[in-house]
């Protein structure tokens, strides 16, 4: 289907099903139960899942295929966001032109940075991209936000104000980002008994983008171009000796992944029209590296899983405070309750980084192929017979990852 082989089609259909049914899958617990704490099916987090999924898919095209580890991808995400908010400010709240411009500008910006950074490889490339990203952050945070020339509005973040021109803003249109009149904030809540499910316009716009982005990523992975990128990863020197100039390929991969980041940034601005400089900081660049490695670099679905995993931790685990813990363990005798809470508390709430860090270590040590490898091991364990044929789209991709370094 659509030029994909059977295995890829199956994977693609699974991803489509997961994204479309996410409102159900992510809200497994009744709204008023104690477990509702773990529900992730509210608009903001669902949007984040798919947006960071796009970001990680794009990053994986560069890192998973060519092996170039960029530490500056957040800069492209930021450029996309700023571009989108400026489109809102100057022209219209419709998200389509904003997203298109975000992708184009991020692409141009990554062409510039990629052209310079790709003169070096390995650690030097990483440092160069990191330097550029930090430079962009500093520019956005203070330099480009002085009262005389205010491009980014500094620490407050770029927002849309009532007195902005918005030339094409019609009278009947919502005063928020919208898709031809459907507000991105529009939310339809369905209740089945004790369960509530949220269907959010913004989420489905992002979901459609992610499905498209995922499809394009599969095509790139399976194309001769993708094969060339893998060759860059396995042995660039040998490629050069055969007379091939590999730099244009690496640059193309860099720009494509920059455009993915721009798309993610544009969507972030589309669902919440504010662009803050922090999303360009090096921590944000590091986060996408974590997502990709955690999920499985070089695999198709890994980055999406990794992005979902990290965002889930960031938004759900970080909200478990001591009051919540006390309510969970209130059945224990008083002294014991305090001890249990004191033992668990450092790992949840504001300590969620600690839990995530330990999980990351465990994954890197025991599952070098990321969560995808974990899934495969479980799959192999359960369906041992079927594995004899060795037919799994992800395994192919994961195997190609191995000759790295």
């Amino acid at each position: 289907m659509l030029g994909l082989n059977k295995k890829d089609t199956a994977l693609f259909l699974i991803v489509i099903a997961l994204t479309i049914l996410a409102p159900f899958i992510l809200n497994p617990f009744p709204t008023n139960s104690a477990m509702a704490q773990f529900n992730a099916g509210y608009p903001d987090l669902m949007q984040r899942f798919v947006i960071f999924g796009i970001f990680a898919i794009g990053f994986n095209i560069l890192f998973g295929l060519t092996g170039y580890l960029s530490f500056g991808h957040a800069a492209f995400l930021g450029v996309g966001s700023y571009a989108a908010v400026w489109m809102f400010k100057l022209f219209t709240y419709n998200v389509i032109p904003a997203i298109v411009v975000a992708v184009i500008l991020a692409g141009l910006f990554s062409l510039l940075i990629g052209y310079i950074s790709l003169r070096r490889s390995g650690i030097y490339f990483s440092i160069l991209t990191l330097a550029f990203a930090q430079m962009s952050f500093a520019l956005a945070y203070s330099v480009l936000s002085n009262p005389k020339f205010n491009l980014t509005n500094g620490e407050t973040g770029l927002q849309v104000y009532g007195d902005d021109p918005q030339i094409f803003h019609g009278a009947g249109l919502p005063n928020l980002p919208h898709l031809f009149g459907w507000s991105m904030r529009g939310n339809n809540q369905m209740s089945f008994g004790a369960w509530d499910f949220n269907f959010n316009t913004g989420y489905y716009v992002c979901a459609v983008c992610m499905i498209l982005a995922f499809y394009i990523a599969i095509r790139i992975f399976r194309s001769p171009f993708g094969m060339m990128l893998r060759a860059v990863k396995s042995n660039q020197t040998r490629m050069t000796y055969t007379g091939l100039n590999s730099r244009p390929y690496a640059l193309a991969a860099f720009v494509i992944s920059g455009m993915y980041a721009g798309l993610a940034g544009g969507l972030m601005a589309a669902v919440d029209p504010l662009a803050g400089a922090e999303r360009m900081q090096w921590t944000a660049s590091g986060e996408v590296v974590l997502m990709t490695i955690l999920g499985g670099a070089g695999t198709l679905i890994g980055p999406i899983l990794g992005a979902g995993f990290i965002k889930y931790f960031e938004n759900i685990f970080s909200k478990i405070n001591d009051a919540v813990l006390h309510s969970w363990f209130s059945f224990l005798p008083d002294g014991l309750e305090d001890v249990v809470v004191a033992l668990i508390y450092p790992f949840v709430g504001k300590g969620w980084h600690l839990t995530l860090g330990m999980l990351f270590m465990l994954v890197v040590i025991f599952l070098p192929g990321g969560l995808v490898e974990g899934g495969q091991r479980i799959g192999r364990f359960t369906f041992r017979r079927r594995d004899a044929k060795g037919s799994d789209a992800e395994r192919d991709a994961a195997n190609q990852r191995n000759p790295a370094e």
Binding site: Y42, P43, S142, Q159, N188, N198, D272, G276
Partner: protein, 450 residues
């Protein structure tokens, strides 16, 4: 023969299923009966406390959270009731808000506008928070205020000192109890004139972001009105930890006052550097060299330790204030947590009570009703003395404290001493003041969401 398998029964079945499918969403959709966003329907109401729990202002955020928890206890009639007895409005009964028990959820702003908006959004969308309170940065306050305006709930700002929060970025759904940079300048100027004379030459080091600029602008304006001369204003990057390279030029500039428009760790470091260079022991133009830190906090004072002795600054509130409201609050906070409250804690505590009281007086949680009840509200007994919530820009007007690093502190909590309580009339300004967005700044329409 046609091979079509279309039968009458099949067609009926299919269309019935399709019809049911189309109708399903309308049957189960909770029709938008709610009059406003997150209308509380059960026996409880949820407030959202959005404070920095990680990052540079984490200590301050922790203090704010303690104060907010205390306020919730008092609202629910637990503990000693704190300021409920001294508050001039007697609408609060200690039985929750409008008879509903108060519950709260917390979020981490990380002192980043993006993260703060995300955590506020999740509290609104997932936990059904009816208002958002707290925060420790002007950038965050402005960003979250914008979000609450769009979502249709009330935002009560915590520690935010930049003029913009209730200036050009003011919003109909947002309210600020804390004072601002303009008030700092207006309160400090007369004290500076009295202590240092009217012919000083000032050198500014300013944190290079929105708050730093508005504070610099305010202080420059009010000191130049005194007759002071501004020698130079230098922007320092926010991430700096070593300010030595910025201090050396001060020595050669002919300035005799150094104004540090820095906050938190920045201020601790720049002040320490300045002391290490011996600025305070110098004599320039025949006068003793002085340092001014326009915005002080207890946590900064603790961080800077010995170095703040004699350094002047301003504050929104200090626990040493001797009015009824302040005493009740300090007693309640001290007994529960074993330390006096910081000025950001007091603001967050007061904001929760003010919100609850406004709901009671309005008889509704509808943000438009609450906003109306808060606008032009005059009250006393929350620790700051007589206070007005001005209707035009949702800024509180009250006395401002000028403080000085104490020479002989008796404990780690009285490192600051109150020099003067500047009366509110002296820090008043018109709502269309040019530093506050001029005539263009408007609150916009109140938004109730839904």
């Amino acid at each position: 023969m046609s091979k079509s398998t279309l039968t009458r029964r099949g067609l009926l079945k299919t269309s019935a299923v399709a019809g049911a499918g189309v109708a399903l969403p309308t049957i189960f959709t909770a029709s938008s009966a709610a009059a406003y966003m997150n209308e509380p329907t059960g026996s409880s109401v949820t407030l959202g406390f959005n404070v920095p729990q990680t990052g540079p202002y984490a200590d301050e955020g922790a203090d704010e959270l303690l104060a907010q928890k205390l306020a919730v206890e008092h609202l629910n009639g637990e503990g000693d009731g704190g300021c409920l007895s001294t508050f001039t409005s007697k609408a609060l009964q200690g039985n929750g808000i409008l008879g509903k028990k108060v519950e709260f959820v917390t979020g981490d702003t990380q002192t980043k506008s993006d993260a703060a908006r995300a955590s506020a959004k999740s509290m609104i969308e997932k936990d059904g928070a009816i208002m958002i309170n707290g925060g420790s940065s002007s950038g965050v306050a402005v960003a979250v205020q914008g979000l609450c305006q769009e979502a249709g709930i009330i935002f009560m700002a915590g520690l935010t000192h930049a003029n913009d929060t209730t200036g050009k970025d003011r919003k109909a759904n947002g309210f600020r109890h804390f004072f601002n940079a303009y008030m700092s300048g207006a309160a400090l100027a007369p004290v500076l004139a009295k202590e240092m004379g009217e012919d000083r030459r000032a050198y500014h080091l300013t944190a290079d972001y929105n708050w730093g600029w508005t504070q610099e602008e305010s202080i420059v304006a009010s000191t130049e009105a005194l007759g002071w001369e501004t020698v130079n204003t230098v922007k320092t990057p926010l991430a700096s930890t070593d300010f030595s390279s910025y201090i050396t030029p001060v020595l050669n500039s002919g300035a005799d006052v150094l104004v540090l428009n820095h906050y938190g760790g920045n201020m601790v470091n720049s002040l320490t550097n300045a002391i290490q260079f011996g600025l305070l022991d110098k004599q320039v133009n025949g006068k003793d060299f002085k340092i001014v830190v326009p915005l002080y906090s207890e946590l900064m004072a603790q961080g800077a330790g010995e170095n703040i002795k004699g350094v002047l600054g301003s504050m929104n509130y200090n626990w040493q204030l001797e009015n009824e409201g302040s005493k009740a609050f300090v007693k309640s906070f001290g007994e529960k947590y074993g330390k006096p409250p910081s000025n950001s804690a007091q603001t967050c505590y007061a904001q929760v009570l003010l919100y609850a009281d406004a709901c009671e007086r309005a008889g509704t949680f509808n943000p438009c009703g609450v906003a109306e009840a808060l606008e032009g509200f005059e009250f006393d007994g929350l620790g700051n003395g007589k206070t007005l919530y001005r209707a035009e820009d949702h800024q509180c007007f009250k006395d401002v404290l000028v403080v000085r690093g104490a020479q002989n502190p008796s404990s780690q909590y009285d490192t600051l001493e109150i020099v003067e309580i500047t009366p509110v009339d002296q820090v008043m300004y018109p709502p269309n003041h040019p530093m506050f967005g001029g005539d263009e700044a408007t609150l916009g329409e109140c938004n109730a969401g839904a």
